[in-house]
């Protein structure tokens, strides 16, 4: 896409990193609750977004992330609570009166309007004259690299092209916040990865706050300044992607992000920050995810890339023994499937993911020892 079209969006007035304005919240949410009948779909006590950040709501389907996004857009009304955009209360304002724009999952371009009419639609609603509408739409069309597509109809375009048109339609009214509801989910993988990068570049260049909803953790981790992991209508954890990934605060977060191996056991000892879990005669040490006391039933979670096939002599409480059952080449990595000895797990095998360049000369049936850094494993009490 073209890099020269810098006059679009807020880039001309965008604030630099040292500007105190950066810290001013663009969005504040207070005690937002949404009930659908008996079901509490969303329950968010507080959420504050900084101007210009790329914020992602990630969670499984039914976690309330889309409902929360729709409430921010005004398409859904909260059961109770308050929403402020740029300090102004918008709680009761309908979608057409808010400085937000929503990019829908299936793009939702108007099939009976041309590309240029689609993009200019929000300006038409604002009462902007036809000539100016057209020229601004064309400008934006150039920005998304689809110059010359003015008179085409949406169904003549590919999925990726439609996605860019819907992005252009969202950006043309220069919203304070751009809301994106899984806008890449219906595209194939290669295109998705390519557009992902483009979206991030657009966001950087425009300086507009993006709120991105996805069930795809990869998207969440790679694109966002901050992410919020949602489950059951609640925000489980909010923070920078790496922090959330490496220091999960709840077991849900620990198991939702990444490929996770879980082993149940009883807490043998803890000093408050690390603990040792006992499973039969095997001791597993890791960081304490949330309050634990000796004797509690708990679960040990370690991501596949935090486990490695041990060389040398790792500490005994950070070691497992098992039998290699299979080796799966995934390109960048090799996943070793290991059936642990003296350990019962829900899955058949533990998964150990290591860089393919460091391939171990192993064959199925070999006995291997696995080790990990205790700080990379997370122990949470099992829910009663």
């Amino acid at each position: 896409m073209s890099d020269e079209a810098t006059t679009i969006g807020k880039s001309t007035t965008s604030v630099s990193a040292t500007d105190p304005e950066v810290a001013s919240p663009i969005l504040e949410i207070e005690n937002i609750v949404k009930d659908f009948g008996d079901l509490r779909a969303v329950d968010v006590p507080s959420l504050t977004l900084r101007d210009g950040e790329f914020f992602t709501l990630v969670g499984p389907s039914g976690s309330g992330k889309s409902t929360l996004l729709r409430m921010i857009s005004g398409l859904e009304t909260p059961t109770s609570g308050h929403t402020y955009i740029s300090g102004e209360e918008v709680t009761g304002a309908p979608a057409n009166k808010r400085p937000t724009a929503l990019i829908f999952q299936d793009f939702q371009l108007f099939p009976h309007k041309t590309v240029v009419e689609n993009i200019a639609f929000p300006l038409k609603m604002d009462g902007v004259g036809k000539t100016e509408r057209r020229s601004r739409a064309s400008e934006l069309l150039e920005f998304v690299d689809l110059k010359g597509y003015e008179e085409k109809y949406p169904k003549q375009l590919s999925g990726g092209e439609q996605q860019r048109i819907s992005l252009a339609r969202g950006l043309i009214s220069e919203p304070d916040i751009l809301l994106l509801d899984e806008p890449l989910a219906s595209l194939d993988r290669n295109l998705r990865e390519q557009l992902q990068v483009e979206l991030r570049k657009f966001q950087r260049r425009l300086g507009i706050t993006f709120i991105y909803v996805t069930h795809n953790q990869e998207v969440a981790l790679t694109m966002s300044d901050r992410i919020a992991v949602m489950d059951g209508g609640n925000i489980e954890q909010l923070g920078e992607p790496m922090e959330v990934y490496q220091k999960p605060e709840t077991e849900f977060v620990a198991t939702f992000l990444g490929e996770v191996n879980s082993i149940e056991g009883t807490v043998e000892s803890t000093d408050g920050s690390t603990a040792v879990l006992k499973h039969r005669d095997v001791r597993l040490s890791g960081r304490v995810g949330s309050d634990l006391s000796v004797g509690d039933s708990a679960r040990f979670n370690v991501k596949s890339e935090a486990l490695r096939i041990a060389a040398g002599d790792p500490p005994a409480d950070a070691t497992l023994t098992g039998t290699l059952t299979d080796e799966i080449f995934t390109g960048k990595n090799i996943n070793y499937l290991v059936k642990p000895v003296d350990i019962d797990i829900d899955a058949d095998e533990l998964i150990v993911s290591e860089a393919a360049v460091n391939r171990h000369e192993l064959s199925p049936g070999d006995t291997v020892r696995l080790s990990w850094e205790p700080s990379d494993a997370h122990i949470f009490p099992t829910e009663e």
Binding site: S73, G74, L75, P94, A95, N96, T100, A101, L102, F104, D106, Q108, L109, F110, P111, H112, F121, P122, M125, D126, Y153, P154, K155, Q156, L157, S158, G159, R169, S173, A185, S186, L187, D188, R189, N216
Partner: protein
């Protein structure tokens, strides 16, 4: 997660391939024979009418004597022109009123109701289960010139309104009653096909409810409006049942004349010429409406992106 979303499951596409590659015999049986049947009957009947319209009749005898007399007769005789004009006006009015009444109802059923949609639609469609004759008898018995409503007014001492007497207003009521369900069902179906998140997209882009309707819902439901209008217009234009039941001497329409010419008067050639006229007017209406629809919803034509 991956590209599954946009690809057709293989079993479905295999089934499609099998249908596409079935033997020619089956294709002919499935599509060719019924199509030929309809085409032949249609073309032959149109052809007969067209040919016969250039003949003449004398005392119930059809005489093969090529002439333009029937057309000249139709174009010069005031009675036919009055009837054609009246029927055309009636059909346009019935279509317009049906459209104006049906659209809000269809919109409400489509957007305002959930489980009740089907029963309500069935209620509106129920009259189709009895024939037009029976329905017009009911119309006559209830709000007709000597129907229950009028008797009730008389008992109350209000006296029967002249609107309720035999005449065009009664015919209008009957026509709307007979053809209204076509309009309602066509519009309902096309409203159901409008993706409601498109309306959300319009609202999110700044459109109020009315603008959303004008910019998105209405144009996208044009196909249903068009089909409903064509069905109601053509049906009411050639209709003869209501005017026979409640029209009286001043409420007769071109459909009655047509029926007479082919029936009691036995003037088939003149009736054929009238038929040709009616077909041309109906085609003109369909053509104009179709052109307008294509302009409003241009994406009805043109191929899909691959």
């Amino acid at each position: 997660m991956s590209s599954i979303n946009q690809t057709v499951p293989s079993s479905v596409s295999a089934f499609r391939d099998r249908i596409a590659s079935m033997p020619l015999v089956w294709k002919l049986l499935l599509v060719g024979v019924p199509f030929a049947f309809i085409l032949v009957l249609f073309l032959v009947s149109i052809g007969i009418i067209l040919v016969m319209s250039f003949w003449r009749s004398q005392q119930f005898q059809i005489i093969v004597d090529w002439n333009l007399g029937n057309y000249l007769n139709l174009l010069t005789a005031n009675s036919y022109q009055t009837l054609l004009g009246r029927s055309l006006g009636m059909a346009l009015l019935v279509t317009a009123v049906s459209l104006l009444v049906a659209y809000p109802i269809a919109y409400y059923i489509s957007r305002g109701l959930d489980e009740q949609q089907l029963p309500i639609l069935l209620l509106f469609a129920a009259p189709f289960f009895v024939g037009t004759m029976l329905r017009e008898s009911a119309h006559q018995a209830i709000v007709g010139p000597s129907g229950l409503a009028n008797q009730f007014f008389e008992v109350l001492g209000i006296g029967s309104s002249s609107l309720f007497g035999y005449g065009l207003f009664q015919v209008f009521l009957g026509e709307v009653y007979l053809w209204f369900p076509f309009m309602l069902l066509s519009i309902y179906l096309s409203l159901e096909l409008v993706d409601q998140t498109l309306e959300e997209a319009a609202v999110d882009a700044g459109a109020g409810p009315w603008t959303t309707f004008r910019e998105v819902t209405l144009p996208l439901s044009m196909p249903g409006i068009t089909i409903g209008c064509v069905l109601v217009f053509v049906s009411s234009f050639v209709s003869h049942v209501p005017s026979r039941f409640v029209g009286g001497p001043s409420g007769s329409l071109i459909g009655n004349t047509l029926k007479d010419l082919f029936g009691e008067s036995g003037a088939w050639p003149l009736g054929s010429a009238l038929g040709v006229f009616i077909i041309l007017i109906a085609l003109l209406f369909v053509g104009l409406l179709g052109a307008y629809t294509m302009r409003t919803v241009p994406t009805l034509i043109g191929g899909e992106h691959e």
